[in-house]
């Protein structure tokens, strides 16, 4: 099977674009990624398009109606917050399978404001606030409090993650926000679901990101100088766990995908130089330090306390600002984090550059549950 390379990748600056259409937002990133690869839409053999909000509305085809209708096969993908990563992975698989040499993956989302999630719904009466809460800040607060129960992790430690990611975003012009948020400001912000304050919740934004994936043969033809090698692409659904009927298990699913990804790449967590992981809430990031093997179980609090996950630390996490400050346009997030890691591996990340980065990891997880992990490697 051919190795697969990212030849072009880009994202738009995340923001709020209520006057634009979803395909229009997606088309912008698609053109940017094509330009980055030095290719045109006529060179693409297939399009894999990730979007959640209009999952039944042929977003991929409508993107091509804006940038070039070649008649290529289009697959529209929806997989909760792993949507973008799944589209990227489908593109990767099509090259692995030997079907194509050059394919395009796009992730795009237009979000409303406000709380995501909700309990039950359906028939009868609303269950929200009656049988607990199905809002996302609460669901991830409950997951974080499991860690507190097990290891004594504190509200302050969770809050420090948000301080870190907001700090990182001040160096990322494509992030929604570039604002420092000191610890007291994070902890004193409006409490949404304890222990997640408003500044510990990801930002609902509109956005898009896209990547051009190529076979090794095509990469050599185009030139390897800025190519990034895909060392692993893993996707897992939630394995059975005892509480998963009432408590979506982001841990077991991530651990399953991480194990697969490390095995594919033939490396261990100690070989990873930077990670973009799914910090939909500050409480979630804490769990994933351990789920991804960046530290031993029970040591996540120490990772943030001792600065290991900051820019300049042992394994910087979410130097883009993460979902907490860069923003979280659901379907775009999985490709946007691939853009971030590729930018570091190419040595093009400006003042947030992780020095000497050779291998990076991306991770997303959508409740329901889907976890997508990619390991990427610098080629020269």
């Amino acid at each position: 099977m051919s190795d697969v390379y990212v030849m072009g990748v880009d994202m738009i600056k995340f923001g709020r674009f209520p006057d634009r259409s979803v395909p229009n937002i997606g088309a912008e990133a698609a053109l940017m990624a094509l330009d980055d690869a030095g290719l045109g839409i006529q060179d693409m053999q297939a399009l894999y398009c990730g979007n959640l909000g209009q999952a039944n509305a042929m977003v991929g085809q409508r993107i091509l109606q804006e940038i070039g209708q070649t008649g290529m096969p289009v697959v529209n993908v929806a997989n909760a917050c792993a949507t973008g990563a799944t589209a990227f992975r489908e593109a990767w698989m099509s090259i692995k399978a030997g079907m194509y040499d050059v394919v395009l993956a796009v992730g795009v989302e237009q979000m409303g404001k406000g709380l995501l999630g909700g309990a039950g719904g359906g028939e009868g009466i609303p269950k929200e606030g009656l049988l607990g809460s199905g809002t996302m800040p609460c669901v991830f607060a409950e997951a974080g409090m499991e860690h507190t129960k097990e290891y004594g992790t504190t509200f302050e430690q969770f809050a420090k993650i948000s301080v870190k990611n907001h700090h990182h975003s001040t160096m990322n012009p494509k992030a929604m926000y570039q604002i420092e948020t000191p610890l007291d400001e994070v902890m004193n912000a409006e409490m949404i679901s304890y222990p997640n304050t408003k500044l510990m919740c990801s930002v609902n934004v509109d956005g898009s990101a896209a990547a051009v994936l190529v076979s090794e043969k095509k990469a050599k033809e185009l030139g390897m100088a800025r190519a990034v090698k895909v060392r692993a692409s893993a996707l897992a659904s939630d394995p059975y766990t005892d509480r998963d009927l009432v408590m979506p298990d982001v841990n077991a699913c991530t651990r399953l995908a991480a194990k697969d990804a490390y095995e594919q790449a033939g490396i261990g967590p100690e070989d990873v130089n930077l990670v973009e992981l799914h910090d939909c809430f500050a409480t979630a990031e804490m769990l994933h330090y351990e789920n991804l093997g960046l530290c031993k179980d029970g040591e996540a609090g120490k990772m943030i306390d001792e600065g290991h996950v900051e820019l300049g630390g042992k394994v910087p996490v979410n130097v883009s600002g993460g979902l907490l400050s860069k923003g979280h346009p659901l379907g775009a997030t999985g490709i946007a984090n691939i853009y971030e890691v590729c930018t570091h591996l190419r040595g093009e990340a400006g003042n947030r550059q992780v020095e000497g980065a050779k291998i990076g990891m991306t991770h997303v997880i959508g409740l329901g549950t889907a976890c997508g992990i990619h390991i990427l490697e610098k080629t020269n």
């Binding site: 909700g118 009868g124 606030g129 049988l131 809460s133 409090m145 507190t148 222990p195 509480r243 408590m247």
Partner: protein
């Protein structure tokens, strides 16, 4: 529609004609996994047609929780969203009541019991009342 007899808030809350309400589970005879709501296949061990209907126990311990300060419009806050492991197996989620919504007051693994009561005055479009379950410190 009778105004006097409330409906169950979820299918697995049973209200017998005579006797007290209870929560119903489905237990796999092969691996003892417990599910809420009727099913025929076990998603843990994949056994088919091995489910038995059980009454869930009404005591348990607090596994995890969050204190909800912002919910959807019209929902009273704050409240405690709690995950409870039942003593007889199974895990359910609900509101923890009769305790301050304060992390200093709430202890992990604290014993809780299930109580039943009106669904906070909520009615469906036909005006029916509902019976819900809650957790409270045991």
């Amino acid at each position: 529609m009778s105004e006097t007899k409330p409906l169950p808030v979820v299918d697995f809350l049973k209200i017998p004609e005579d006797g007290n309400p209870y929560l119903e589970g489905f237990r796999c005879k092969k691996c003892a996994s417990i599910y809420l709501g009727e099913r025929n296949v076990c998603s843990k061990c994949f056994a088919r047609d091995e489910m038995e209907v059980i009454k869930l126990t009404e005591t348990g311990t607090l596994h995890s929780y969050a204190i909800v300060f912002r919910s959807f419009p019209g929902i009273d806050v704050p409240y405690i969203s709690a995950i409870v492991d039942l003593d007889g197996g199974g895990t359910i989620k609900g509101n923890l009541i009769n305790i301050d919504p304060d992390p200093d007051k709430i202890e992990f693994n604290m014993p809780v019991k299930i109580t039943y009561g009106d669904a906070l005055g909520r009615k469906d479009t036909e005006g029916n009342s509902y019976l819900s379950y809650f957790f409270e410190p045991a």
